[in-house]
Subunit: 388 residues, 2 copies
Amino acid sequence: MLGTFTFENPTRIHFGQNALESLNQELPKFGKNVLLVYGGGSIKKSGLYDQVVEILKANGKTITEDAGVMSNPTVDKLYEGVERAKAGNVDFILAVGGGSVIDYAKAVSVSINCKEDPWEKYFERMEDVDCEIVPVGTVLTMVGTGSEMNGGSVITNHAKKLKIGHVFGPNVFPKFSILDPTYTYTLPTYQMVAGLFDIMSHLLEQYFSGTDDNTSDYVIEGLLRSVIHSARIAVKNPKDYEARSNIMWTATWALNTFTHMGKPGDWMVHMLGQAVGAYTDATHGMTLAAVSIPYYKHILQAGLPKFKRYALNVWNVDPTGKTDEEIALAGLDAMADYMREIGVVMNLTDLGATPDMIEGIADATFILKGGYKVLTRDEVVAILKASL
Amino acid sequence: MLGTFTFENPTRIHFGQNALESLNQELPKFGKNVLLVYGGGSIKKSGLYDQVVEILKANGKTITEDAGVMSNPTVDKLYEGVERAKAGNVDFILAVGGGSVIDYAKAVSVSINCKEDPWEKYFERMEDVDCEIVPVGTVLTMVGTGSEMNGGSVITNHAKKLKIGHVFGPNVFPKFSILDPTYTYTLPTYQMVAGLFDIMSHLLEQYFSGTDDNTSDYVIEGLLRSVIHSARIAVKNPKDYEARSNIMWTATWALNTFTHMGKPGDWMVHMLGQAVGAYTDATHGMTLAAVSIPYYKHILQAGLPKFKRYALNVWNVDPTGKTDEEIALAGLDAMADYMREIGVVMNLTDLGATPDMIEGIADATFILKGGYKVLTRDEVVAILKASL
């Protein structure tokens, strides 16, 4: 715990079956004109849309609809949402959906009263918010991104071929988030498994950084053990409430800033995965899975003590008669076995990537510092080739 | 994670060496008339008092002094503090000290504008706050209680022979807390070690409850491993910044409500320890240490799967050739060895308790539900006798 930091997380979480009822406690605290943000038709099919609208109306709210948020919300959609919000004189935003819907809602919340172009200000120039923020509340239906309890927002600009994330401060965090694990039951298996790996990757990308003894690493090991255990149950029985609730809570804490305290973080797996995503349009979590083992094997020597610790504390590798490197590799082998067991995609070829894309993906990969090794472009190419 | 809960923790933490500088960012957010709450002379001796006063003055604050908060703050001191606060027209309270000072500051904060007697309202009748709360900020100098990031406040009424804790809601949590690990360097070893066991006990009293698979238990195992590791270093070298910083951060998260989510909690070790404290005036953490092993051995059969898990995941007990009970007992033996290693008091006799006190201590012990076994009064007596 050698770092100096400020920790603040003001989001109020209502967790558990029927947590939606707490919307009745929350709504009176906020304004009358509500922007109701959601994605496609899944919340209409599940009946959640009707329930939410009923509660909004019972609380005397006027609803402005903002549907059709796509899985990588675009700047064009953002502009449209801001206009809708202004037309509805909106003073509260309720986001019902997964990470994309919530990311988008936050982007709208800081743009309604913004005098400049929000894409340029927040995403291209990464500036702080200096206008009044319209508060956001959320009802989470998909787990993985942690957006329900942090300030992150990722917006895509197709015209400029850019997908940029801004981590806003605590004033942009959702005021409340409603987490009912049963809402996650209906997600198709492929998306569920991709989300499971996304959670794991968030934890690993914080874990594999820093060389000090850090309480965060002990907590991350605990969260990893929890999500690995519950994922094995959930893939066999997606309606196991206990497993789905543990996964939901772990996902929130995997990326709500707590486990990042005092650590630099190594976000190269996300950088590689996002570049792959730009070329293949593959599901986010699967792009992370496809590059993870090759990436970690590539940097293993540079972070050997931590990879050894990972093998021992997360995968219970028996160290008897093994060198440190053998222990560390056995940990990655156990991780790879687990990934196959839950059914993630293990290589880029299966995601539609071809050898001729490698150079382009490498060009699109931002190289970050913070991990055990700062990659060269040649190393990025080598890792991508090993991931095919 | 079978429980339904609301989680909210609005306290902003400034952590690290020289975190006191952030007081300059915080003070402008609050009122001009500050009640400066502290205990004995230790912050004057260390120079912290002068630093804090200088920053308060540089920020244009008018200071009302409220010194002499004792380690078990009394209701008489509370009444006196409320009068001081009213006389100073106080609109902000800055607590500089450990858990007792912060507990006391919270009690004052909810009492200044309270029309009823605060002892009767909050502690005897356990009522909610319905008056305006004067905000509290803290500078932490001793770790263990977690009061810097929760709503707990324990007040002692000597006339009525009562020591009662009230867990207030998030509106009473400190608005900010400043955590500089170097402030903990000067604490005498005996107090440091008592605090180390208090932290461990907070974690264990949450861990040894519930039978579901719960993410909180995995996190608790991580925090336990962290504090055990760092405690061993800190007792040898109290000025090891890394160890002291990990201990400080673990202490905060051991009792800021996060790891209690979805769990009933078993607070019998605190109930036993507090009753011992009323009879012997022994240091809080040491009273917990003296009763812990006898208590846990007594309830071991009722919670055998969890005690086995504790032995394996926290103490790395080798299960080869052992029954579940033998594994569980080996875990408690490892814990006892560790306790002796860091130097806690292992029995009530060394704390000044005598056989003739046992019946009285048993009478003073509140028996709580939530753990693996609800004790009878005879069992309380048996555990206390085994602790002598």
